[in-house]
Structures are given as C-alpha cells and as structure tokens.
C-alpha cells in the first residue's frame, strides 16, 4: 500500500483520476472544482497521462463532449459544481438514457442566487432525477477511493450508467489531508481496461439517441429505471471487492454508533465527519445517539436504510437544501416516503442547515438532538425547520 501523503484533496483526486488511465477529460473550470481539472490538464500537458483534455466553452459543452467521447468508447471523466452542474442539466438525462458510463465528480456548492460559492447540496438535489448513480464522499481518502470505484461500477456490463461522485466544495475540495494515493499499476490490478458494450464504429454502425415517440418513450423510461435499480447489486459488489483488495470498505448506507441509539441523525457528505465527533462526545456523556448516512443516494438503498433506522425512537434528518414553497428538504421527504408503509411510525424531525457554506457546529447538532429527544418522548413533530436563521423560521412564533 502506498504511503500516506498530505495534499489538497482536489490534487489527490486529479492524481487518482490519472491513475485510472482515463482517455478523455472534457471540463470547464468552476469554483470550487477548479483544482481538480486544472491539475488534470497539467498532468496531460506534461505527458504523464495519455489522454485528450478538451477545454470546452461551457459545462453544457463539457457534458455534450463527454457523451460523444463515451459513445466512441473512451473512458471519460469530468468535474463540475453548482452553476456548472445546472448548465449541463439537460445533457445529464441524455448521458444516462444512452447508458454512457461517464464519471463526474461534483464539488458541491450552493446555487445562485444570491451568488454564493460555498458548500451546500442544492446542486445535488436539483439533479436527483437525472438517472445517474450518485455517491457521496465524506473525506478526501473516500473521494479518491470512490473515483476508482465509480469507474468500476459505471463500466460494469450489468450497469453501464454514468456516476456522479459528490464531495463538499471547499470543506473537502480545498482541505489538505493525509491520503494514500494509488499508483496506476495498483489501480490497474483492480480496474480493468474499459471494454465498451457498444460504441460508435463505422465498421459496425449503430444510431444512438433516436427519437422516443409516444409509442416507446414509456418503455425507454422503464428500461432506465430497471437499469438504475439493478445497478444496486454490482455497486455493492464493487464496494466489497474494493474493500477486499485495498482494505477500505464502503456500504450503501453507513451507520455510526447506532446499534442501541434512540435518536439517530441522518446526514450525507462531509458534515457526517463532524457529526461523528459530536456523537462521540455525546456517547461519553451517556446519550443514546447515533448517526446514519447515505453513501449511495441513487439508486436509493431503501431496504438498507430501513434496516439501519427501524429500531430508533426518532430520526433527525439534516437537509442541506430545501424546496421553497414545498413540504421541506428532499432527503427528509424521501425518507418519509420510504417509511410510510412501516408498521411503526418513526417520528421524524426535519431540519435544514448548512446552506451556502454556513458551518454546522456541535451546538447545532445539540440543538437538533434536543428536538429529536422531544420527538422520541412523544411530542408532536413540527414541519421542517430552517435552523441557524436569524429571526427564526417563517411562520414560527
């Protein structure tokens, strides 16, 4: 195993992408993703990686170029954030519909407006329905490991879907962290060369992306849904196989000190690391609190999640985005949906926090926990609440 080296997470991710021996990178720089593609362009320019780096004129073009490149049978990578992800929105659906195994890392950042370059999950949550596999990293090592695993799961012939790997902008992207980076040989021993199932080839012509008339559009959507659902097995196999080979194991839903917990916090991404430290502190005080995180966001690992939380007296769901004028945060709404048919109704406290780069502190977790304890004790749970807001949530006395 490689030695642990301190470096910026974005640089480590670029080095790891290079170690995956990608063929094409088409990307447009955007804060806080910039260092990933900037460093990759240096690696290509220095001749360390034999790849095409396409400096496109926008993210819309980036994803379009990625679709073309993947359709031609090349291992394809891109990276973006926030407004960039929004600009490529319409092409995301095409990439998944065409079953192109593109890997994209997203340095999660708030959407404008007001313009804000800092971290939350509004860019993720407005792209939930794009038909991509979506995975969250919580620290730099995971972000690097998951790039390699993303290629493995995307290119699996039972999967053939694009993968979005989320890591928190600045909180992770600009963090200097000790990481074990893998060499190209190490990666190659586990991630085989990409062999496309079908590709654009003049000797064996096919047409990709024909019109889906009303007589076939419904069937195409069902096929996409089935592909994403069925990717669950190969994703789990990928996590396990990576763990067997390299000693770091990942799961679709991950739990921390949750076995006998009465109140469970539910989180995603880098804030989970802070939450784990806070849980440790509370456990020392004898509080029965734990943490459950979604590693895999699409396909939603429904059964794993229910198994992880069904014993709890209450759940506190932390959303980093909410739907204005809607019922609350998207993660909480999905959790409510999947728990609806459970025999026992688990009280749910829905909080929205950490918007546009506002830190979620131990004090915030303690505040959430008090709400969770009240719900566990049978007090009624109010609708979602944007905590941390000066003046209090709209409509609350």
């Amino acid at each position: 195993m490689a030695e642990r080296k301190g470096m910026e997470v974005s640089i480590g991710m670029a080095e790891t992408t290079s170690a995956c021996d990608v063929d094409v990178i088409a990307a447009y720089p955007i804060t806080p993703q910039t260092h990933v593609v900037e460093h990759l362009s240096e690696i290509v320019a220095d001749g360390e990686l034999d790849a095409e780096f396409i400096p496109v004129e926008s993210e819309h073009a980036a994803m379009s170029a990625c679709c073309g490149s993947a359709a031609a049978g090349a291992r394809t990578f891109t990276a973006t954030a926030s407004q960039g992800l929004a600009l490529m929105h319409e092409i995301l659906f095409i990439a998944s519909s065409l079953r192109l195994p593109i890997v994209m890392v997203v340095a999660n950042r708030a959407l404008s407006g007001p313009i804000n370059i800092w971290n939350d999950h509004s860019d993720v949550m407005t792209n939930r329905d794009a038909g991509w596999i979506q995975v969250f990293a919580e620290n730099g090592q995971e972000a690097c490991d998951l790039i390699i695993q993303s290629f493995k799961m995307a290119e699996d012939k039972r999967v053939l879907l694009p993968v979005m790997l989320h890591f928190d902008g600045f909180i992770l992207s600009h963090m200097v962290e000790p990481m074990e980076l893998m060499s190209r040989d190490e990666v190659k021993s586990w991630l085989p060369d990409y062999e496309p199932q079908q590709r654009l080839d003049i000797d064996n012509p096919i047409s990709m992306g024909p019109v889906g008339v009303p007589e076939v559009y419904t069937e195409a959507k069902m096929a996409g849904e089935a592909a994403l659902r069925e990717s669950y097995g190969p994703i789990c196999e990928t996590f396990e196989s990576f763990g067997d080979k390299f000693g770091r194991t990942y799961k679709p839903v991950e739990s921390y000190r949750s076995e006998d917990a009465e109140v469970l916090l539910i989180s995603m991404g880098g804030v989970s690391e802070t939450a784990m430290s806070w849980v440790d502190e509370q456990r020392e005080k004898g509080e029965k609190v734990g943490l459950v995180r979604f590693r895999l966001w699409r396909p939603l690992p429904i059964d794993d999640f229910i198994a992880a939380v069904k014993h709890a007296k209450s759940l506190v769901v932390i959303d980093r985005h909410f739907s204005p004028g809607g019922p609350g945060g998207p993660v909480a709404q999905e959790i409510k949906s999947v728990l609806y048919n459970e025999e026992r109704r688990i009280p749910l406290v829905e909080v929205v926090a950490g918007l546009g780069g506002r830190d979620i502190t131990f004090e915030d977790f303690s505040n959430m926990y008090q709400k969770g304890k009240a719900a566990a004790a049978g007090e009624p749970t109010p609708p979602f609440e944007l905590i941390q807001v000066r003046g209090g949530h709209y409509g609350k006395v």
């Binding site: 992306g209 024909p210 195409a220």
Partner: protein
Amino acid sequence: MSRQSANPEWRELALGMAITEPGSSRYNRTGDWRSSRPVWVFEKCVRCGVCSVFCPEGCIEMQKDGLPLADLEYCKGCGICVAECWTGCIEMEEEKD
C-alpha cells in the same frame, strides 16, 4: 439482425435504445403521414431533377427516361418539391380517403 417489433416491451429495447440495424428507418413507411400528394404535369417538366434533390425524404427518383417519380410509400406530402420546381409542373392534390 432481425427487425425489432413495432411495439416492443421495455426488456426488448436495445441498450440505450440504440438502433443497431443500419437503414432500418425504411421500415417506417412515412407515406401514411400524407394529407396531399405531389402530381406532375410532365408536359411542362424539363427533367432538371430539382424536385429530387430537394426532397427531404430522398423519395423522388429520376427514372431512365429522365422524369421524376415519387415513392408514395415514403412521401410525407410536405410540398417542398412544389415550392422548388421552377417550371411549376407539380401540384399538390388532396388525398381523398
């Protein structure tokens, strides 16, 4: 490669709904879209071939005698041939049934 059924179930769709048989668009007989058909008055036709060149379906063939013939299995009745013909020898005639 066999022709895909007209109304496939979702499991029968090719990966990413790709079309794997070159030229299979010919199975779509677009002639039944037509509400009017082009009719030539050959006395005025100078056999220039403009109608054939501009036909977006490529379904007007210049025959051995130099006169154009529209394949009504595929002609959608768009009327571009009428608009482009500079001798005015084509007219659109409404389909009766």
